[in-house]
């Protein structure tokens, strides 16, 4: 329950980012370099925390951490939710097709899954992400922030669908042989009927659980890409990029690490708890 409320608070804050900006009075791109010392570190206590800057200022550029976190959450959550949605849908479709049709189709799909699993994700991402913009934008165009967002979602989609596809395929393989599906088939029901009326209703519980656990894994996955320098780029505010940058200030400006770090942890934890709770609620076998 608590996890659900936490999640709703996070989502509302993220969605209402412009509203928060209006109330807070500071934008995510405003710089306050006069509040930094000659080493570029925020003046005052705890990374420059003040009534005006609730979570202090970034060293270097001197931007407000609180408002960048609010906007950063929006970016991160959008990427994670979109990636989770796409991979789940893709996985479900492929899984049903492979599981239900079986035979050659299944063999081909299984091979593709094996192939996708064998390609090292980070290396491929490292090769593709920085260069793909060159194919879409002229050399003098500014690459909009949403383009990188789309690319990251796309990269996650290409590699992420295999998990749910495997799961659904396995479920369908066993459901297919059950009496009620056999009965429907024998009574001449069409493919659409069998898939939507017979199979999906029995699949939605595991799918929902997979989905809710995929979201936090994409939040952290996106942060990991930032760690390799292929995440969201400046000036778009983003959680992963923020944490990566702050990490080197662990000793000299712990407040800078603390606020984004604890927030992303709470966000991921809330999702994990929520997913766990969902599983417990939906899976009659899992008794606590």
């Amino acid at each position: 329950m608590a996890s659900g409320i936490t999640l709703i608070v996070f989502m509302v804050v993220a969605l209402a980012a412009p509203l928060v900006e209006m109330l807070y009075g500071v934008g995510p791109h405003d710089q306050f370099q006069h509040k930094l010392n000659s080493l570029g570190m925020p003046l005052g206590y705890l990374g420059g925390i003040s009534g005006e800057h609730w979570f202090g200022l970034e060293p270097g550029l001197g931007r407000d951490i609180f408002i960048r976190m609010v906007y950063g959450m929006r970016t991160s959550l959008f990427i994670a939710l979109a990636a989770a949605l796409i991979t789940t849908i893709l996985g479900v479709v492929v899984g049903i097709v492979a599981g239900y049709l079986g035979g050659k189709v299944d063999a081909v799909v299984s091979w593709i899954i094996d192939f996708a699993l064998a390609m090292p994700f980070l290396i491929v991402a490292l090769a593709i992400v920085p260069t793909i913009a060159l194919r879409f934008y002229g050399p003098r165009d500014e690459i909009p922030g949403w383009f990188r967002v789309t690319v990251l979602i796309g990269v996650f989609a290409v590699f992420g669908w295999t998990g749910s596809a495997r799961l659904v395929r396995g479920q369908v393989l066993s459901l297919r042989e059950r009496e009620f599906v056999e009965a429907a088939r024998a009574s001449g029901a069409g493919l659409g009927h069998i898939v939507f009326q017979q199979l999906l209703p029995n699949l939605w519980a595991p799918i929902l659980v997979t989905f809710s656990l995929a979201v936090p894994s994409y939040v952290t996955g996106e942060a990991a890409l930032s760690f390799l320098g292929i995440g969201i780029v400046e000036p778009t505010p983003d959680f992963g990029a923020m944490i990566f940058r702050s990490l080197s200030y662990l000793e000299t400006d712990p407040a800078y690490v603390f606020f984004p770090g604890i927030t992303i942890f709470l966000l991921v934890l809330a999702y994990n708890l929520f997913g766990d709770g969902l599983r417990d609620a939906l899976d009659p076998k899992s008794k606590r």
Binding site: M1, A2, S3, H29, Q31, Q33, L36, N37, S38, L39, G40, M41, P42, L43, G44, Y45, L46, G47, G48, P59, G60, L61, G62, P130, T131, G138, P139, R140, D141, E142, I143, G229, V233, E234, P235, S248, Y249, L250, E251, T252, D253, P254, V257, F258, I262, F265, L269, L273, D276, G277, R288
Partner: protein, 579 residues
Amino acid sequence: MLRRRAITAGGVLIIMAAALAACSKTTDEGNQVDTDRVTTGVIATDPKDSRGPAPEVPGATKGGTFTVIRQTKISHMDPQRVYSFAGLVNAPLYARGLTMFKDDGKGHLTLVGDLAETPGKNVNNDCKVWEFKLKSGIKFEDGRPITSKEVAYGIARSFDPDLTGGPTYIQEWLADDAQYDKKWDFKANKTSLPPGLSTPDASTVKFEFAKPRCDLPFALSLPASAPLPADKDTGVNLDNQPFSSGPYKITKHTAGVEVVMERNTHWDPATDPVRHQYPDKIVWTFGPNAEAGANRVIADTGADQTALAWNGVPASLVSKVAGNSTYTPRTLTSPTPSASRLTINTQRVTDLSMRKALNYAIDREGLIKTLGGSTVAVPMTTLMPPSTLGFQGYDAYPAGATGNADEAKKLLAGKTPELVLAVGDDSAEIGTQLKSNLEKAGFKITVRTIPADSKLDETKKKANPWDIWIDNWAADWPSGASILPVLFDGRTIKAEGNSNSSYFNDDALNKEFDRILAMDPAAQAPEWAKLDKKIMTDFAPAVPLFASVGYYLHGSKAGGLYISSVWGYPAFTDVFVKP
């Protein structure tokens, strides 16, 4: 149940958070960097300066192991291929050249003969014929004497197209052609010498050039003039195991992991005016990133007490080190010859007043804060960094530390020019900073991020589509000759690989370059300083930004370290380990 789980999880987190918490006030007491260090330099005229041994370093003792911690391996160790800073300061330990800079670490440089008795004899005083007499008693690591034959062979093998990466001055000057390896094929003529290079006797190396090459003694101070016996030439594999002529020899090299150098017993200090041989071993160890390297040296335990963190103190750790006086005796701080400028592509930005407006608008202080503050860079308003011989400071567009937007707007006269700024995707913050800075002065800036790996290659293409970007130049020797003509001689512009990345071409200026280049090197210095100011005042082909600052920490038991006045990186000629 769920709530309990959350509470337990939260508990673990609070413990971690407590470990992080630190509460101290950050104030504005700046760390002082000696920005006024000006390099003075001469070419030694007295042969005594070139004689060994080098004066003892006060307090130095023999023995011990000195370690350098670096993130990545040294790209090349083969003296003929060395061109990275790490390689350039390390190579003198195992490779001797014809000349070398004697450096007191305070900006006073003397170019002396290293293997040669003097830094060269300009035979006809026209810089076309040069002779170098070798010292006696100079030996390789296997004890055989070094003669003119091995020195000439070393230079000859730098013509081999397989041996990429090294400097190409000598080759191009001898062949009088940028395509030197076509003019003379090393592989087909291994027993002969390239045109213009000869060895009249066992102790004389002679260069004859088609054009005056007054900078030859400087160019020979690069490790590429190191000698090599032909039978020890292992081609590309020499990179892993160079054959030593200096005080140390490589005894173990695990690529990407470590290089171990031990004393070369055949090196005679009496022949060497610069180097010492204090530690038993000098070891490079590769792997830790800048933060880890600095943290090791900060911790100062065990073997790290005699170590140096090559990657310096990163911006994120500076306030820890700078704010604590216990570290002061262990830090090395100095501006370096590495100068950064905002290059203006003059093919696109043809309007001089717009280029001047950029110079007025620039907020150097904000930019430097973004980079990490005064221990990372010091502002600069000249094209040549203060460490250049004969440097004269000036500010052609005085606008204060944070720029003068009003002055810039006046020059723009109501226009709002749209400029595309190219930045590498690893330094996008600089784009953010420059955009907000320049837009205050009336420019409209489009920030174009490009893959950092290819930024340098792309901006060096003449047909590149961008208007402004940050460039960096570190000269190969501290003379205006290896800065201004390289960066602004319009006759050198080619399709790709341009150092003149402003793509600026002015006939009068080109003539001026030729005039100064034909002068005696000592007389050149003040002329370059004058020309620097003239280029900025008349043409403004770039916005000078900052000189990088070296900020290093070493362990409490390492001594004799200084920042090289030539390269701006720690130098090892005097290094010793305290007992």
